[in-house]
């Protein structure tokens, strides 16, 4: 449904997007993940015909975003980074206006606006002036604007930003429901968002694609460095040395203590190696007291950091 081939975008001397290629199948939800300035917004702006690419091609539903821009624009719903809202309109008028300019048949404009307000939880603010809405409601109106003409393709730039935790869950649920019928690309910095909503993730960093995979695979790929926290009664140096002797252990770091008797350690080990029993045996057999032991998985944030730092260097 969406085909991006060797797409690049330069702003003067800065390269915002650097030769990226990926595909999104019909009905798929693709997550676009990357730190600030990675090029997510720029890529989306090219896909929505707002910016022309410097090199490469992008096609949406078979239409080139540059040559058949009008056909592409008929088929997409786009929520930009800053929701494009007219602050002096009521929510209802704004959505009816959007229905009009996005080609909804005159007879259906009212009902489409109505249905979209329902979907996005805007019933209470239908007649409110947009300028007077809170940040979260404005974001919802922005989302509604992208949905009002029931487009085949949805491009959502950080759709859950500024929403309260409950709304975030609701919007993610909504996006999931929309998938299947609609093809969706969404961008975010928040990892859990990707694992909850998306079938595939493109990790982008400094304009380049760092990884494309399912959220599960990405997590598995990086869960390699399993971590265990242990609290031990005994001298720091000796304990640390003893732990290092365990074959699968790759790194040890002292978390707390240092001079007292009780010390905490973070022990990292190789891929899929469970060192806990070895660790317990080593500590107790050396005569130290094992006070506590628990697994600490790498958080998704850490995985993300690893990917965007490691692979960009490589």
């Amino acid at each position: 449904m969406i085909e991006v081939e060797h797409l690049s975008k330069y702003f003067g001397r800065t390269t915002a997007v650097d030769n990226i290629s990926f595909r999104v199948e019909k009905g798929e939800i693709l997550g676009f993940l990357g730190p600030n300035g990675a090029g997510k917004t720029t890529t989306m702006r090219i896909l929505t015909c707002f910016l022309p690419a410097s090199a490469g091609t992008a096609r949406v539903a078979g239409y080139d975003v540059f040559k058949d821009s009008l056909e592409v624009r008929k088929r997409i719903g786009y929520l930009p980074e800053n929701p494009p809202l007219y602050n002096d309109m009521t929510v209802r008028y704004f959505l009816e206006f959007n229905a009009k300019i996005k080609g909804v048949e005159p007879k259906q404009q009212r009902s489409r606006a109505e249905a979209t307000m329902e979907k996005c939880g805007l019933q209470e603010v239908k007649e409110t002036i947009i300028g007077k809405l809170s940040r979260g409601y404005k974001q919802r109106v922005g989302l509604a604007q992208a949905l009002v003409h029931d487009p085949e393709v949805l491009i959502l730039d950080e759709p859950t930003i500024g929403l309260d935790p409950r709304q975030i869950i609701e919007v993610r649920q909504l996006i999931k429901e929309l998938g299947g019928e609609h093809t969706i690309i969404l961008s975010t910095h928040i990892l859990p968002e990707v694992s909850v909503t998306c079938q595939r993730v493109v990790i982008i960093n400094k304009g380049k694609i760092a990884a494309v995979d399912t959220p599960e695979n990405l997590t598995a790929r990086l869960k390699g460095s399993e971590r265990v926290y242990v609290e031990v009664e005994g001298p720091v140096d000796q304990v640390e040395q003893r732990i290092r002797q365990i074959p699968d252990v790759t790194a040890v770091s002292v978390e707390s203590g240092g001079n007292g008797k009780r010390n905490g350690f973070f022990v990292e080990s190789k891929v899929k190696a469970d060192v806990r029993s070895q660790l317990a045996a080593a500590i107790t057999s050396s005569g130290f007291g094992l006070l506590e032991m628990r697994r600490v998985g790498l958080s998704l944030e850490e995985i993300f950091l690893q990917l965007t730092t490691e692979e960009a260097e490589g």
Partner: protein
């Protein structure tokens, strides 16, 4: 066509939800009303004076309501338009760009020309309504006097054409910037230039002078005020409007290429 109508409706709605349309209309009415009053009173005083003069010495000079009041009114209206129109047009593109709604318009299946025409006609309609308010004065003149209606009608035609030309310049000014203040200053500056350019023909070489006076918005307005409708002048305004709208489209297109 449907898109143009949608943009047209949206722009008009925005005009009437903000105070600017009302404030400008009010200011316009106060100024024109004051001058209308002044000019008609002067005219009737003159009439009285010359009637007394004629009754004593005979021979009444030709006093013309059209020449002395109506033509003056049209001159005044065009002059005020010079100030009002940049204030009506300043918002049209600058604000869309500043607030990010340009991204909405540009990614919707609406052509740049459709957006532009919607905006242009919305602004023109508002201008026509404001100018329409002065019809009241003509009615008053019609009730108490006997104006020649031909020049009144042609005067309105000229005023509307000139206003449309001003609007085209104003929209162009709005399209080059994100700031309404810059848009209004730029628009006003450009209009002023087209206003006074005719006078420059006095001190330039004859060739250039001819071009300058041809470009003067004012030169083409005067015949309408006198009751002469000449297609040459209508064509001037239409091509002037077309040229600036074309420039605006080019500017908007090029802004995507940054």
């Amino acid at each position: 066509m449907r898109n143009i109508a949608a943009i047209f409706h949206k722009e008009l709605k925005t005009y009437f939800t903000s105070p600017i349309a009302y404030v400008l209309a009010a200011v316009f009415l106060v100024i024109t009303g004051y001058f209308f009053y002044g000019m008609t009173v002067t005219f009737s005083n003159e009439c009285l004076y010359y009637m007394q003069y004629a009754s004593r010495y005979g021979g009444m000079p030709a006093l013309n309501l059209n020449q002395q009041v109506i033509r003056g009114m049209f001159g005044l209206i065009s002059f005020i338009s010079l100030f009002i129109i940049p204030m009506l047009t300043m918002r049209l593109y600058a604000e869309e760009k500043r607030s990010g709604t340009m991204e909405l318009l540009m990614t919707s299946p609406v052509r740049i020309t459709e957006t532009l025409l919607g905006k242009f006609f919305a602004c023109f309609s508002l201008y026509a309504v404001i100018i329409g308010l002065t019809v009241l004065y003509q009615i008053i003149l019609g009730v108490y006097g006997h104006p020649d209606w031909g020049p009144v009608l042609s005067g309105y035609l000229g005023t509307l054409l000139m206003g449309a030309a001003f609007i085209a310049v104003g929209i162009f000014a709005s399209s080059v910037t994100e700031s309404q203040i810059i848009a209004v200053v730029l628009g006003f500056g450009a209009l002023l230039l087209f206003w006074v350019i005719g006078s420059a023909s006095i001190f330039t070489r004859p060739g250039a002078g001819k071009i300058f006076s041809y470009l003067s918005i004012l030169t083409h307005m005067l015949p309408f005020q006198k009751g002469v409708i000449d297609t040459q002048h209508i064509l001037f305004y239409l091509s002037f409007i077309g040229f600036f709208l074309f420039l605006t489209v080019k500017v908007i297109e090029s802004q995507r290429w940054r």
